[in-house]
Every structure is written in C-alpha cells, then in structure tokens.
C-alpha cells in the first residue's frame, strides 16, 4: 500500500524490523495455538509491537496467516534446494556421504524452526485453505522431490546405485531417513542431533542394502564399499 518512487528507499529501517518480528511471532503463535486459537494480542505481545501495527501491516488475521505460510514455504524451499545442492554426486564413501546428506536434510530443512512451523501449519490448517496449500504442494514436494530424484538417477547412472524408479527411490530415501522420528514429529517435538543421526544411519544402511550395487556377483573381490574402520 505504500508505493515509494525512489527504488532504494523502500522501507525506512525500524519498519522492516517490526515486520520481521511480527512474522516471527505470528509463526510461533499460529503454530502453537492453531489459527483459531491464536489471537492478535498474543502475537502483538510476543512481537513487542502494538496490535494496531499488525493491522497496519497485514490488514486482518487471515491475511497475516496467509503471509506467514507463503513466507515459510519460500524459506523452506530455499533451504531444501540449498541442501540438495550438497548431494554427493561423486561420493568417496557412499554410505557416509548419504548419511551426512540425510542428516543435513533433516537438521536444516525438516527439524529446524521453519520446517517445524510449516509442517505444523500444513497439518493443522491444510484442509481449510486448499488453494494456499495446493500452492505449497506444487512449490514444495512438487519441485523438491523430482530434484532429489534426479540426483539419485545421476548416482545410479554413474554406477553407484541400482535404481529402477528414481522417484520412488527418492521418496523412500526420505521416508527411511525419518523413519525413527515420526512419533516425535507427530507430537510437535524436535529430535536432538543424536536421534537424527541414528535415524539417518539406519535409514541409509537399509537404503543401500536395497539399492546399493552388489559387486560380488559381477567380478570384484576387493572393491567392496569402504564403510567401516
């Protein structure tokens, strides 16, 4: 609603700070209390801002909510793509590298603050805002899953894995990496580093038992996956 002519004077200084702290607090409160249970005064207090300021910035509660979800979706997506870019395309130690990747994915995208908030909001309010969450579905899983699948396909093509359907494998990789965190996620908890590592380790081992190359049949005798030590 404020169209400044000069392109670099967009918002003053404290203005943006307030905006951020409102988004921050609103995410926290919506996540904790659900849309209906949250109230604007709570958010204002948590943001250290007056109620009126929130109305000035966002108009009404629903508008604020939508802004939060869009913001979280965007930030989470960025994080996921950043993490995908660290996928081990030329692994030295396939098991260790995939475990490390799974841990990064969980820690930086799934278990972190934004990931937790977005997941909770989707679960809680998904049915009430079909178009908003359809948007998330397209921008989120719709784009990240194929990206991960492509990496696995490349790894298979390079001879590191034996995969028929990379899309299926990608989904199963993620499912396995989280297999032991499900209950914690359900209750809104945040698994600690050890649980994440544990789940990723078990998940990747099983994944490699299923999709790892079995060279014994071919011809090798010494070039087995260098895991231990």
């Amino acid at each position: 609603m404020k169209l400044n002519v000069s392109p670099d004077t967009i918002p003053p200084r404290g203005h943006e700070a307030k905006r951020v702290s409102i988004m921050d607090a609103a995410g926290k409160v919506f996540c904790r209390e659900s849309f209906a249970g949250a109230n604007i005064d709570m958010i204002a207090a948590e943001a250290g801002v007056s109620r009126q300021t929130i109305y000035n910035h966002h108009g009404d509660k629903e508008n604020l909510f939508v802004a939060i979800v869009r913001d979280l979706t965007e930030r989470c997506n960025a994080g996921i793509f950043a993490t995908i870019s660290t996928f081990p395309d030329q692994p030295k130690d396939l098991e260790a590298d995939l475990i490390a990747f799974a841990v990064r994915m969980n820690r930086n995208c799934v278990c972190n603050r934004d990931g937790k908030f977005l997941r909770k909001l989707i679960q809680t309010e998904g049915e009430r805002y079909p178009e908003l969450f359809a948007e998330w579905r397209e921008q989120g899983p719709g784009r990240t899953w194929p990206a991960i699948a492509a990496r696995f396909a490349r790894l298979a093509h390079a001879g590191f894995l034996d995969i028929e359907d990379p899309d299926v494998a990608a989904r199963q990789f993620l499912a396995l990496a989280n297999a032991e965190l499900q209950t914690t996620f359900m209750l809104g908890g945040t698994p600690d580093d050890d649980e994440v590592l544990q789940s990723a380790t078990h998940g990747v081992r099983t994944f490699l038992r299923a999709f790892g190359k079995r060279q014994q049949v071919a011809d090798a005798q010494k070039h087995s996956p260098p895991t231990g030590a």
Copy 2:
C-alpha cells in the same frame, strides 16, 4: 453424577445412542476445526442433539475433547492389534503376503476414519495436552511397534528374512509402506485404494531388497558397528 445401585442398569437405551452420536460428531468437528475452532453448537447440530445434552454428558468442552481422544486411541489400538494378528507368519508368497499386510494396515488402521481423526488430533493438539498424548504414545506406538517387531523377528528366525534389529526393521517397514502417502496425509486427505496398494507394493519390494534372503550374498555380510562417521 448418577450413581446407580444396580450394576447393570447403567444407561437406558437411547441414552447410549446419543452418547455415540455425540462422540461421533465431536470427533469429526474437532478434527476438522481444531479444538479452539470447534464450537459446541456445531457439534450438537452435527450430532442431532441439543447443546444441553452435551453438557449433561461431558461437563465441558475440554472434558469432551479428552473423552474423544481416549476413545479414538482405544479403538485404533484395537484395530492395529487385530491387524497385527493377521501378520503372515508362514508366508506362501512373502512379497505378496507382506504387501497384503501393509495394505491391511494402511486401510484399516491408518487411512480409515478413526486413524485419520486420531492422527490429526495428535498433530494439532499434541503439544497442548502432554499427559494425554504421552498416554497415547505409551498405549499406541509403545505397544504396537514392539508387537510388529516381534513378528518380523519371528519371520527372520524362521529363515524368511535377514534382519539384525527387528525394531528398526519394523519402523522402516511402516515408513516404506507409507512413503508415497505422506503428502496426502499432511493435507488431511485420504488416499484411495490404488495409491495405498501402489505405496505398499513399492515399499515392500524395497524392504525385501534390503532384508530378503539373498542366497548369492547370504554370507557376504559387510556390516560394521554403528559409528558416527
């Protein structure tokens, strides 16, 4: 508030019918609207009952909510144990039998009405009622997962599978069986029979690639102890 002396005259007849229809409607509405978003008039209307009757039966909104969760937990647990009892202990066709089991588990326990409601309520209100959901955790995953693990352990002992840690395998089995339903669950949807079969088939195939007996490599074990590499 009504202590009847004779132990079998507990509730009349239509009384119980109302009780059931209240529980039914309340589950639906709490699930759809969240605790804060649900209101008693909505539940009363959906149950075909007057508001006062709900207050007569359950005292207040919170009490009603707790009763719903307890009821759902109990019913879901019963369903899960009933399904576990159909686990293929002496499989004729291991893949087909495990797929069928995974489908039963999903259809009768995870994707059905009660399963969907309980899952949603846990996700949505879990943080607000720690003791109630701790109870669920103990009665639910705390008892069903070991039960499934025991079945897999038996199957491994009988020579059908090659499993080191049955608890891990059981969790991974369930994770794989649901791997392709995650997004749908997130948004509160109910996957159709085809999606369930698809996910179960892919999941079980991968599970068997990882844990199935491979005669050629049965002795080529190359597993090192858990290390945080």
